[in-house]
Amino acid sequence: MKPLNSLCIAVALGLCVAVAKSSAAEITVFAAASLTDSLKATTAAYEQTTGDKIIFSFGASSTLARQIEAGAPADIFFSADEARMEDLDKKGLIDAGTRKSRLGNTLVVVVPADSALPIKSARDLASDAVKKLALADPKAVPAGIYAKAWLTKQNVWSVVEPKVVPTENVRAALAAVESGNVEAGVVYKTDVGISQKVKIAYEVPAADAPQISYPLALVKESKQPEAAKKFLRYLAAEEAGQVFQRFGFILLE
């Protein structure tokens, strides 16, 4: 067969496949870094049954919100705090009708797995034994904002602040503790499960911690609103809820 002929046939076949694929939806979800493992676990079954493809972009909720503002092609935004979602809502970038506060979480203080540092309260973080404390950037990232709120309420923030190593997102704070380059870090309880190299030194009681709430919503500019809403309903339903609980999240209602 002449090379030009076979090229034409290959292109035609490729187009057929592309057309066939496009009948299944591709949804992009921008989600907080702390949801990485749990969200991935929920979608495996979903993709099987519906044939839709879910693409994730995990990061600090603040970074993701900035990107959505700048026009990034997200269909769903799953934030780690209400403030980021509120921000986008005020700018008219999300479909308020689909907004739902889905998950809660617990803050924990983690130390490297081989550390002998005794931390029994917020006050211990103020001691000289803790030279550096890793937090997701307390100026912007929800995990850091929650941690700062807690430490402020416990009246130790002014002493602790100079020791803070602000990181890009909460998983980066976890990584900093794992590397041993900081004495301790404040992350979500749900983050610790995946790591062998850290251990929980102190779990912040719900009474002391600020209200942690993970809202999700449809992004108005979504190109696949129907398919995205379908996935949103799935995430709000029981099956997904069980997966989240398995990872340590609290279900809000």
Partner: protein, 224 residues
């Protein structure tokens, strides 16, 4: 510009200047050895020195993180024996800037040394000058313009360093926040006007540095 912003500019300027000064003796020594001597393994050393120029800066940062972290070979020694931390301190900024700008200095200085007529060095030795005296009184003065151009380039590179710095120094406000890091985080926070102010300073500094380097090179060429 607020005082915090000026602090960031000042910190960036002095740590970039310090890193250039710190790498100078090592850079000159290596450049001289590459220009004037041959030895087994020379091409391997040449390649290693050029790596930070070619590799993604975050990759270089990652390597530095492994080496200088508390669990790493060098960082571990410093932490255990001297109670000295590198990662997440201003020393990490110095390290990142130095490593990333080192190849630029070495390249410029090497070319400058190669352009010095070796006969002049030889005659100086017949006049009784030791290798050190020849180096400081003949080689360096004749290579001075090229070396200074190299230092300016290194300084400019240090000013703009991001990838390796954020890896090993983090972006700790008031402690390791450089111009590039600050611009990045201000954009993250949606503080575009602050980001643009810092951007303006950054461009002005880089412009001055590169222009100065080009001017020196032009003068060097004209005087030949």
């Amino acid at each position: 510009m607020s005082s915090e912003e000026w602090q960031i500019v000042w910190f960036t300027a002095w740590v970039s200047a310090l890193s250039t000064v710190v790498i100078l003796p090592f850079g000159l020594a290596l450049a001289w050895a590459l220009a004037r001597r041959d030895w087994p393994g020379k091409s391997i050393v040449e390649t290693f020195v050029s790596l930070p120029l070619v590799m993604p800066p975050v990759a270089t940062g990652l390597i530095l993180l492994q080496m200088f972290g508390r669990r790493g070979p060098i960082g571990g020694f410093l932490h255990d024996k001297l109670d000295l931390d590198i990662i997440f301190t201003w020393r990490a900024v110095l390290l990142a800037l130095g490593v990333m700008s080192f190849p630029l200095l070495v390249r410029s200085a090497r070319v400058a040394f190669e352009e010095v007529n070796p006969r002049l060095e030889q005659i100086a030795r017949t006049l009784g000058a030791s290798q050190w005296r020849v180096f400081f009184t003949i080689t360096v003065p004749l290579a001075a313009r090229g070396i200074i151009a190299g230092m300016i380039l290194a300084f400019a590179r240090a000013l703009g360093e991001f990838g390796a710095t954020i890896m090993i120094a983090g972006n700790i406000p008031g402690k390791t926040s450089t111009l590039s890091l600050a611009i990045f985080s201000e954009v993250q926070l949606g503080q575009d006007d602050r980001a643009f102010r810092l951007l303006g300073v950054s461009v002005a500094l880089a412009f001055a540095a590169v222009w100065g380097s080009e001017w020196l090179l032009r003068r060097n060429r004209e005087s030949k």
